[in-house]
Symmetry: C2
Subunit: 167 residues, 2 copies
DNA sequence: AAGAAAATGAAATTCATTTTCAAAATGTTA
DNA sequence: TAACATTTTGAAAATGAATTTCATTTTCTT
């Protein structure tokens, strides 16, 4: 395992960079198409965001960027995330803590979430069977589904032992 | 159909009143057990709330009550709904509009929601197959589920025709 | 370089939710 | 019933995330 670590990371880095730059191009296209302007700030924010794996809030991303760059304001981070969402490069999500989080779109078109009540960890999953049954429910009610939200809250493998009244 | 209307409503009213008074007793028990005090306001708010079928916000319930009774403040409505939730007689829910809504517990233990993006109508559904598959997903990830949220957003039968880009 | 349009960011605003606090109501005890 | 401790009430203030404002700066096109 250990001896492959270097290589794996190297490969992963390469892929990530490619993905990020591909997405950044998409953002630039979107900005141009909409008659907007490319700026240093948007570039930095988008780069930093697209590197993200997790579901990040505007505040968190702002703090992360602030560490290296004192000249980017919270408002711009906030607005750039909205822009990324509008351009289709980010997905806006609100979980039980009522904070607006953003995640870069990934290879998975759609996915749902498992959220740990102890550590706050978020795991993604896809289940086509469930998706089909959801659609069946919709049809049954004469409902035309546009989107849906499914979140399972509980304790992840690591936090299970800390679950209240589990012992 | 029409000739049964009177009778049906009468019967329904009877059942509702019984259910409401049963729940009000449960609230009184809870209040006593917790060392709290029963008040005129709590009684009025709980009665009005438990009659509710829909998913109501504190603001909405406050306005509804205000029409008849000018002496009940918003804060008390807000606090009583929280109290009902803590006592287990109400469920607190937040849908995509980010407003906190309350619904009285019903005979259905658990249910999920279909929410119309046009009229805001909320329909409840239960699907044991989905619930089982959700649990299977959780198990697969070594996750111990405590609760979950599943909401389908789209257009209900009545509003389908108004759905954007459907024609 | 000039001008038009958009972006920035600090500060202000919004808005639902929650808390504060002085006065009122409740329920227990004597 | 009166006194008392405790809780409740409700107007107002506080909170806090999300959003908007606006003067200044930057970008992009002539
Ligand atoms: Zn899904
Ligand atoms: Zn996700
Ligand atoms: Zn469910
Ligand atoms: Zn419901």
């Amino acid at each position: 395992m250990l001896q492959f670590k270097g290589r794996k990371i190297l490969k992963k880095k390469g892929v990530d960079s490619l993905q990020v730059s591909g997405k950044k191009e998409r953002l630039r296209d979107f900005i141009k198409k909409m008659g907007f302007k490319s700026t240093r700030q948007r570039d930095i924010i988008a780069t930093e965001f697209l590197k993200t794996i997790c579901h990040i809030t505007a505040e968190e991303l702002y703090k992360k960027i602030s560490r290296m760059n004192k000249e980017i304001g919270f408002t711009t981070v906030y607005r750039t995330l909205k822009l990324l969402a509008k351009s289709g490069l980010a997905t806006e999500r609100v979980f039980a803590d009522n904070l607006t989080r953003y995640e870069p779109i990934s290879t998975k078109e759609h996915h749902d979430h498992l959220i740990c009540l102890a550590c706050g960890g978020i795991t993604e999953f896809e289940d086509t069977k469930i998706e089909k049954l959801q659609e069946a429910v919709a049809v049954e009610f004469g409902f035309m589904t546009i989107t849906h939200k499914m979140e399972l809250y509980g304790y992840c493998r690591k936090c299970k032992k800390h679950a209240p009244a589990s012992e």
